[in-house]
Amino acid sequence: MECNVTTFNFHFGFRHLGFSLLIFLATLSAQADTATIDLTLTNQQKLIRLPILPATDAYKVFSTTNIGGKFIETTDGVITGFNWMAPLKGSSEFYRVSSVPLTPEALLRATVLSKLAYGATPDELTRVARIGSDAFIQEQLAPELIVENLSIDETSTGTGWRRVTVTGTASSPDIYLYLSSVGDVYLDDIKFVAGTVAEQGANLLKNGDFELPISPTWTVATNMETSTLNSGFIHGGAASLHMVSTSAGSSKGSSIWQTMAGVTSGNTYTLSYWWHPASTEYPDLRLRLSGSGISSVPLTLRTRLDNQLASVDDLRAWHIMRAVRSQRQLQEILTQFFENHFVTHVSRSREYLDRTYNDGNLIDKIATGFEFKENQKWRAALQKPACTFSNLLTISAESPAMLIYLDTVDSKGNGSNIANENYARELLELFTVGVDNGYDQNDITMMSRCWTGWSVDILNKTNEFNPLSPRSTVFIPGATNTATASLVGVWAFRYKSANHNVAAKAMFAGKTVPSRFGPPYAGRSYALTIPARTSTAGIQDGYDVIRHLSNLPFTQEYMAVKLCQLFVHDDFEIGYDFTDPDLSPEGKLVYACMQAWENNMPKGQIRKVLSTIFSSQLFRGNDGSNHKVKTPLEFTVSAVRALRSTSTNGTMTADTDGYSIPTTLNRMGSMRLFQRAEPDGYTETAPGWISAGTLAERLRFVQSFCMASGATGKSDAGAANTSDPVALMKKNLPPTDWGKGDAVARYFVGILFPGEGRANLDNYTRLATKFLNTSDDGVVTSLLSASTLSAANYDTRIRGAVGLLMTLPRFQEQ
C-alpha cells in the first residue's frame, strides 16, 4: 500500500516507557500544522488514539528508536476503531501516524452515486469504477443519450385479438367483467380453470365463449345494458361480447358478472381471455374475482398512464420504480426536484373535478393525468441539451395541476372582482425569486391580475395544447344531458379572456437589484410594465411574467441555493453579499452558478448550472460527501438499490413493485408524492425529516425489507419489497469467504457506505462481524462457518446483519 503524499501525517515522540513526551505535528500537503494526538499506557499496552478524519481508508503507524533516523512501518499493533494498541517493548520508540484517505476518484464515485443517483447499486459501483466518475457525470447530464429499456415503460402492443392469462388464488366464485371508464371493447373465449396452466381442464365459466345469449349465464348491470353479442369481431365460434359501458364500472353492480360453480376460495386457478379494442382509444378493461384474488388489467402500467387510465397509486408506483431502475438517474432526481419545487397537490385537482363528476375513480384518473403529464414534460424538457429554467417554469405555469392548486383557475380580475393572490405570491416566494427577495405586496397584487383568465376546461383532444380554443362541444354518445360531465374531451389549460383584468400593470416599479449582488447585477432596474390587453391578447401577461422572473438575479440566486442544497450540503442560504472579499466557499459556488446561468445563451440552462456544481471542489471533496440526510424517498429507494443486482439465476437480488412504498413515505414524515399540501414542497434539509419517531419508521422499513418473504413483519414495509442479500454476496465473494463473518461483513459495509473509507468503518465492520458470528440470543458464539448452521438460519443471520448495517446512522446519509 502506497503512502499518499497528500495524507495527514502525525508525529509524536515517545521517550521513556513511564513518561511520555508528546510532540504532535501534522502535515497537510506540504504545509506543517500541529494537531492533538493522545497517547496512553495501560495494562502493559501502548495506546494511540488515532485522529478521526473524513474518508480515511487506512492508517499506517511508523516507528523509530532514533528520532533523527528513518521511520519504519510497524506491524506490532492492532487497530480497533480509532485506537491503535501494541504491547510494551523494552526500548523507547518514536511514532508517526499516517492516515490514507480514499482516493479523490473513489470519494467522487461515492458522491456521484449518492447525489446524481438514488444511491449506489453494487453494479453501478463497479461500472463507475470502470468508466470514471467524470464520465458518469457527463453521461447523466445527457439523459437523451442513455438507452433505456425498462419493463415498467413497456406499452401495450399488438393488433387484433390479444390474449391475457393470469394465475392466482381465488377469493370468491363471483367474476366481474367491467370497464373502469366509459367505453367499449370486444371480449371472447374467457376460460377459468383449476391449476396454473391456462385452458387446461374444465372451464368453470358458463358461456365464456359467448356462443349463447348473454343472459341468463351472465348478469348485466344497468350501465352495461347496451352490450351485445357481436358477429363482426370474433375470436372463436360465431360471436364475441361487445362490452359497452355508459359509466365507469368498479364492482358487481357496474359489471357483467356470474357466479361460477366449483370454485373454492383459497385454491389456485388460471384465468385466460382474448380482447380486441373497439376504437383507437384504449379500453379500461378489468376482469376480476370479487375480492380481487385474481384480477386482470390487460393494459400495461405505462399504457394506462399514457392514456389517463391510471390512479395516483399507479403513478406513485411507477415514479418510485423509475427511481429504483432507471439508468437516467440524474433525470429522475431532477424530475423529482422540480416536481417538488413546482409543487402541486393531486387532492386539490380532485376537489376541483368533483364539481363536475360524481365518479371518484374517474376524478382520480384525470387528476393523476395532470401530474403525470407535467412530470413527463419536465423529463422531456430535461432531455433537451439547452433546457432552461424558463422552460420548466412555463410547463408548471400551464399545468392544470398548478392552475387549480394555487387558485388561478377561478381567479377573476374583470370588473370589480379582486384577483386571487395565491399563485402570484407563491410564484415569487417559492418558485422564482424566493421569500422577501426583491418584491412587495403591491407587486403581488399587480401580478395576481396578470394571471386572471388562466384556467382549465375540457377541450377537444386535438385542442389539448391550444389554450385559446373553445370548450369541447362533443357529448358522450347516448348522453341524455348537456352537463359538463357528459362532454368528451381532455381537461387542459384554457385561457378565459372574460375573467382577465385588462388594465395595464406595473410591477417592481423603481426597484433596482441591491448592491450585494455585485456586478453585473447590482443597480439593474427590473421594473416590469405590462400594457392594457384585451381579448385573447391578455394571455400574454402571464408569459411576460414568466419571461421576466425566469432570469432575475434573485431567481438565479434562489435556484442556485436550492440546487446546491440538493447536490452539496444543507448550509446554503439566500442573502450572501457577493461583493464580500471573504465570501464563503458556499457563497462563491452560488455566485458561480449564477454566472453560469447569466452568461450562457439562452440564460438559465440547467446543465450549465449543474456542471458548475459538479466541477466545484465543494461537491467533489469531503464537503460534498455524506453531509446530507436522505429524504424518505431517497432513503427507501436507496435501500432497494443498495442490494439490487441480478443474481446468478436471473432474478433481482432486491426489488419493489413501488405500490407499498408510498405508505412508508407517509409514515416517515408525511411525504406523500404529488400530494404536498403546502406550496413550499418537501424540505431538502435534515431537521425536518429526522426525529426519533421518523427514525423508528426508517429503521422498521429496512428491517422489514431485509426479512425473507413470508417472515412475520415482512408486510410492514410491503411484501413486494424483496431482498436476497445472500444471493448478492455469493455472486460477489468466492465460496471460500461465504463462511467468514469478517469477509461477509466487509463486503456489505463496502457497498453500503462507499464514501466513508474502510478505516472509518472499522467499528461497523466489527459490529457486523460479531453479529454474524453470534447466535440469535446475542450472547453465544455461533460461527457463520459452523456446519450446524442450517441454510435457512444462515440466510436469516446474513439478513439480520445487513438489516443491522442499514439501520445505522451512516446509512441515513448521502
Binding site: 442573502g575 407517509n666 417472515a711 446475542g778
Partner: protein, 536 residues
C-alpha cells in the same frame, strides 16, 4: 444565535462541574438560572421542574378569527362585507349584556348537536362565538378559558410559510431563525438531552416550534408503531438487533453536518422506545369518556372522537349523524390529540402538541355550517375534551398544571372574496385554556374575552374605518395584542421560566420599543398594543 451560546455554556459548565462546583458557580456568571438552581439543589419550582406542562395546537392555514370570535357589536361585521359567510346574530339576544357565555344546550337527547346557528353570546358585552364553538362555553364558564382577539405581530407577513415560522420561532420578521420557541423553552429547562422525552409532537413531522439542532425533540407519526423489529423477528432476535443498535451509538465518526443531529435523534429513539412500550396508543385503548352527559343528552360522550361510534351521541341514538360533536373528517386529528395528551399525562414530557390543518379557506368557507364551521367544532371539542381528560384521568399532568394554547399564523381578510372565501389577513384569535388560567368568574375576573370590545385597553374601533379595516390597505383586522406577549406570559408565569430565560426563549422580549410586557405604542410600526394580559 443565543441558544448556541447557551449550549456552549452548558458544555463548559458540565466540564467545569467535574473540577469543582464552587469554582463553576463563581466563574460562570452566564449559566442559565435553572442550571444554577439545579446545581445548588434548589430545583422545586423552575421551568421544566415544577410539574407545569403545555399542550399546543397549531391551526395551520390561518383561522378566520372574525368568524371564530365574532365582533357582533361592530356594524362592519355585516352582509355587505361578508355576504355568504357572515354568522348572523340572534335577534332575541342582547349581546351588550355582561355575564357568562351562553351555552345553547339541547332540550332533548335526540336534538341535533349543532341546531343553534347564530352567534353565541360570550357575555363580554360585544362579541359572539361561532355556533360550532358551543362546547367552549362550559370551559369558559368554569373560568378555565381565555379568548384573545386581534393577535398578530409587527409588519405582519401574509405568507403562510413566513408567518407560521415567525410564530414557531417566536421571532417575527427574521427568516434565518431555524429553531423553535418551544425548543428553546426546553433548552432553558435544562432537561434537553437529559430526559428522554421533553418536547413531543404528534403529527406528520416535527414542527418548527420544536426544531433545533442541539437537542432531539420527538415527533410521532403513529405512536402504535413505535417499536423496532429484529431478524429473525422473534423476542430473541429483536433483543439482539436492539442491543447491536445500541452498541453502535458509541461509534465515532468524523464530524459532518447533520451527524450531531442524527446522533441525538438515535439516542432519543433508544431512550423513548422503552417508555412507549408501556403505553397503549391503540384505538382499542381509546376508552376515555366524559364524567357526565352534556348538551341535553343522556349519555356521556367519548372525549376523543376517533370513529363514528365514539363521536358524540352518534352511536347512542341509532347512528344519528346529527349527534356528532365533530365532523368525521377529524378522526385523525383526534387520534393525534389523544396521543399528545397521553404523552403529556404519562411521561415527563413538558411540552406536547399537534396541528389541525385546513384553515386556508380561500373558497367556499361556509358560515354556520361548512368547512370553517367544521374546523371550529374541532377547536371547541379539543379544549372541552382536554379539560375533562386531564381532570378525570390525571396522572403526571393534572388540569391545574396544563395550559392548552392554540396558534395560527394570521387572520383572514375582513371582506369576503369572489369565491365565498377569505384571503390572507393579519390579526387573528388565540385560545388559552387550563385549570390555572385566570378566566371568567375566578377571583374577580369579570370576563376573559380579550381584544374584542370597545372597552378594551386598546379599544376595538367599530364601523367602516374601524379595527376591521385598520391597516393601510383597509382589508385586514388590525392587531392589538402581540402573540409573543401571550406565549411569553404562559412560558414565564405558567411553565416557570425566569424573565432572563424568557428573554432568551423569545429574543428581545423586554426590548422597550416592542412593548411586549407593559403595552404601548410599538416602535416597530407605531401600533398600540396591550402588552401582557392577566391570563395565567
Amino acid at each position: 444565535m443565543s441558544q448556541l451560546n447557551l449550549i456552549t455554556r452548558r458544555h463548559f459548565f458540565n466540564q467545569s462541574a467535574k473540577v469543582g462546583i464552587t469554582a463553576a458557580l463563581s466563574s460562570l456568571i452566564d449559566i442559565p438560572m435553572v442550571a444554577k438552581r439545579a446545581l445548588a439543589g434548589d430545583v422545586a419550582d423552575g421551568l421544566g421542574l415544577n410539574g407545569k406542562k403545555l399542550l399546543f395546537i397549531f391551526l395551520r392555514g390561518a383561522n378566520d378569527g372574525l368568524n371564530s370570535v365574532i365582533p357582533v357589536g361592530d356594524s362592519a361585521y355585516n352582509l355587505t362585507n361578508r355576504p355568504q359567510i357572515m354568522i348572523p346574530s340572534d335577534p332575541g339576544l342582547d349581546y351588550s349584556a355582561s355575564g357568562g357565555c351562553d351555552f345553547p344546550v339541547n332540550s332533548s337527547p335526540t336534538d341535533p348537536t349543532f341546531s343553534y346557528d347564530m352567534a353565541i353570546r360570550t357575555g363580554n358585552g360585544f362579541a359572539g362565538l361561532h355556533p360550532a364553538l358551543k362546547f367552549l362555553a362550559p370551559v369558559y364558564n368554569a373560568g378555565d378559558l381565555a379568548m384573545i382577539h386581534r393577535v398578530a405581530y409587527p409588519k405582519q407577513s401574509r405568507s403562510h410559510f413566513d408567518s407560521q415560522s415567525y410564530w414557531e420561532t417566536g421571532d417575527p420578521n427574521k427568516s434565518l431563525v431555524k429553531d423553535g420557541i418551544f425548543y428553546r423553552t426546553i433548552l432553558e429547562s435544562g432537561l434537553a438531552n437529559k430526559s428522554a422525552l421533553t418536547g413531543v409532537s404528534i403529527q406528520s413531522s416535527l414542527p418548527l416550534s420544536l426544531r433545533g439542532s442541539e437537542a432531539a425533540m420527538t415527533n410521532l407519526t403513529d405512536p402504535t408503531r413505535y417499536n423496532l423489529f429484529g431478524i429473525p423477528n422473534t423476542a430473541q432476535g429483536n433483543n439482539k438487533a436492539d442491543a447491536y443498535l445500541r452498541e453502535s451509538a458509541g461509534h465515532r465518526f468524523p464530524g459532518k453536518r447533520n451527524r450531531d443531529l442524527l446522533s441525538l435523534q438515535y439516542k432519543n429513539l433508544n431512550d423513548t422506545l422503552n417508555i412507549f412500550a408501556q403505553l397503549d396508543f391503540s384505538e382499542a385503548g381509546n376508552i376515555f369518556t366524559d364524567d357526565a352527559p352534556i348538551d341535553g343528552d343522556d349519555v356521556a360522550y367519548n372525549l376523543f372522537p376517533t370513529s363514528n361510534a365514539k363521536n358524540g351521541g352518534y352511536a347512542a341514538h341509532g347512528n344519528a349523524g346529527n349527534k356528532y360533536v365533530v365532523d368525521p373528517g377529524s378522526y385523525d386529528f383526534f387520534t393525534n390529540l389523544r396521543a399528545a395528551a397521553t404523552v403529556l399525562n404519562k411521561t415527563d414530557a413538558i411540552i406536547a402538541g399537534t396541528q389541525m390543518d385546513g384553515f386556508d379557506t380561500h373558497t367556499l368557507q361556509g358560515a354556520a355550517t361548512g368547512s370553517h364551521a367544521n374546523l371550529q367544532k374541532r377547536i371547541a371539542w379539543s379544549i372541552y375534551a382536554l379539560r375533562k381528560y386531564f381532570t378525570k384521568y390525571a396522572d403526571k399532568a393534572a388540569w391545574k398544571d396544563v395550559v392548552v394554547v392554540t396558534m395560527s399564523e394570521f387572520g383572514r381578510t375582513s371582506v369576503e372574496n369572489s369565491d365565498a372565501g377569505t384571503d390572507h389577513g393579519e390579526a387573528g384569535v388565540m385560545f388559552v385554556a387550563g385549570g390555572s388560567v385566570k378566566g371568567y368568574g375566578k377571583a374577580g375576573v369579570k370576563n376573559s374575552v380579550y381584544g374584542v370590545s370597545p372597552t378594551d385597553s386598546v379599544p376595538w374601533q367599530v364601523g367602516p374605518t374601524g379595527s376591521m379595516f385598520g391597516d393601510s390597505s383597509k382589508r385586514y383586522l388590525k392587531r392589538a395584542v402581540d402573540y409573543r406577549s401571550v406565549l411569553g406570559k404562559v412560558i414565564r408565569d405558567h411553565l416557570g421560566a425566569t424573565q432572563d430565560q424568557l428573554n432568551r426563549i423569545i429574543p428581545g422580549y423586554t426590548v422597550v420599543g416592542e412593548r411586549l410586557k407593559a403595552g404601548g405604542i410599538s416602535t416597530k410600526d407605531g401600533v398600540t398594543i396591550t402588552g401582557e394580559l392577566p391570563i395565567v
